[in-house]
Amino acid sequence: MSKLFLKGNEAVAEAAVRGGCRFFAGYPITPQNEIPEYLSKRLPEVGGAFVQGESELASINMVIGASYIGTRAMTSSSGPGLSLMAEGLSTLAATPFPAVILNVMRGGPGTGAIQGAQMDYLQATKAPGHGGFRMLAYAPSTIQEAVDLVYKAFDKAWEYKAPTLLLMDGCIGSLMEPVELPPMRDVKREEYPLYTSPHLNPGNPKRRCSATMITNERDHEEWNRVQAARYETIAKNELQVEEYMLEDAEYVIVAYGTSARVAKSTIRQLRGKGLRVGLIRPITVWPFPYESLKKLDETKVKGILCLELSIPALMVEDVDHGVQGRIPIATYGRSAGIVFSSEEVAEQLESHIDTDWK
């Protein structure tokens, strides 16, 4: 199949349709606007529905409705919108309902910068909403990977009946790259069983009844246990990581998304100079690849650079949780839409190599 030269946002929108997305609701926010624009035209062509929600609050609740009735549904937004959707994400996780959520990250905090950044790491991995839950989160590094992962995200969301996040950064959303699109799937509506049905209507459990409040404490606690077990299964089965030139590495960069591909260029440059640098690239940011860091040999690896398009560094606690203080960790970030060049990252690494990593 021939490759198409596509913009990241449009490519993931088309891949979502091919993965079975038949409902989308969203509210305009830069830098993800091509996604709703594309889907507003595309979804009706395949018998799907597009609604421009009056807000992110409404949009995520429309997705909840569509998912309740068994339609493969998606929304997309950026950081400020994801904050507004937090209550809905918690509800999706609680019920639980499958849905795919795209965050095309921009600079923060607050209204922040409209250009791409990677400043929603903690929101994505630790607290997408209130009430304590986990959400499978993919962080693509190329447009091809974004396309493949959004397609996969629909499968995983429906396999686990859980919201699944695609944590893109604005740089990948606005980038254009050759990409091969996956085949079109014909996915039917599927009215899957709901955990809460027998609680809400014990006399007629075949009715589909959904609520995220169960008034009986013991039932509620049992439900929390079921959910926790599910998070463990997801963590065990769905971890994805790329280890790049890691075998002989004396210096390791940890980075995801756009940062990771900049890091690859840096590594190629520095390897040319004889410096053994490798990369750990989380493809899922939750679950996080702690094992890749745990197995680093502290007698061989002299330093780790945690690289993000974010100031302050957000991923560093996760990196340290894997390293357990055995290897020095430095951080480097740019923000506000500024993307570090591979030369700039190389300079950072070399300065550590010459000083505190000696």
Binding site: F23, V51, E54, S55, L57, I64, N201, G203
Partner: protein
């Protein structure tokens, strides 16, 4: 002997969660009776709010979802747009619909979604303990307006009149649940709202004036008198718009 009055088939056989004298139960029963009448129990989704309105979940025997606070019209939109063959009605109270969910109801109405919205207006937050609602009358006491509502806390919001400013809605009517005659009129209005959806005519909005003996601090009988003497003066009954007779 012929049975002329019975429990609707689409009503669960269990006690309601409502306080003695509360008129939510009357609204629930009208709805269940009409679900029977149209024979749509197996195809209906009841979209419910947060608040006392959500106790409909213990009453109605259809598919149902309790939405987030104020978002029921958005949730219903998601259901109806991706499954247009389902019969979807929305049941919301005044805190839910007129306060936190004002944007959702306005835009759902403005898009003319083919839905039936039943709005229970009892001028108070019930479940959370009698706080002031956007529909609380001037001077009416609430736990967050202990000396009675003052202008600084805003004026009662008239949702039928506000929604009547929009182009898309097909049918807008305000009824009350205080007397047998008014209950029959309410049933007629909801029947019309249901039929409009079944005939793909679009958005119907039926407001039902109701009471809250518990949080108003009144006996059930007194609460009905209050409705007649005070509530209905602020919120006049009647149809604000009815294009039900027009072709879909």
């Amino acid at each position: 002997m012929e049975k002329i009055y019975k429990r609707p088939e689409s009503m669960q056989k269990r006690a309601t969660g409502y306080c003695p004298g509360c008129l939510h139960g009357v609204a629930n029963k009208i709805i269940c009776g009409l679900v029977d009448e149209f024979g749509i129990a197996d195809n209906t989704v009841a979209v419910q709010p947060i608040g006392c309105g959500a106790l409909l979940c213990w009453t109605i025997d259809t598919d149902q979802i309790i939405s987030l606070h104020g978002r029921a019209p958005a949730t219903a939109t998601g259901i109806k747009r991706s499954a247009p063959e389902k019969f979807v009605f929305v049941y919301q109270g005044d805190g839910d619909l007129a306060s936190i969910g004002l944007a959702e109801i306005m835009h759902c109405a403005n898009r003319g979604e083919n839905l039936t919205v039943i709005f229970i207006n009892n001028s108070i937050f019930g479940m959370t303990g009698g706080q002031m609602a956007p529909t609380t009358l001037m001077g009416q006491k609430a736990t967050t307006a202990q000396d009675g509502r003052t202008p600084l806390q805003g004026y009662p919001m008239h949702m039928c009149e506000i929604i009547n400013q929009l182009t898309a809605p097909v049918y807008i009517e305000r009824c009350a649940l205080d007397s047998p005659a008014h209950v029959l009129a309410a049933e007629k209005a909801i029947r019309k709202g249901f039929r409009n959806q079944l005939e793909h005519k679009g958005f119907s909005f039926i407001e039902l004036l109701s009471n809250c003996p518990t949080n108003w601090g009144m006996s059930p009988v007194k609460s009905l008198e209050f409705m007649r003497n005070e509530t209905m003066k602020e919120f006049p009954l009647g149809a604000f718009r009815d294009r039900s007779a027009e072709e879909a």
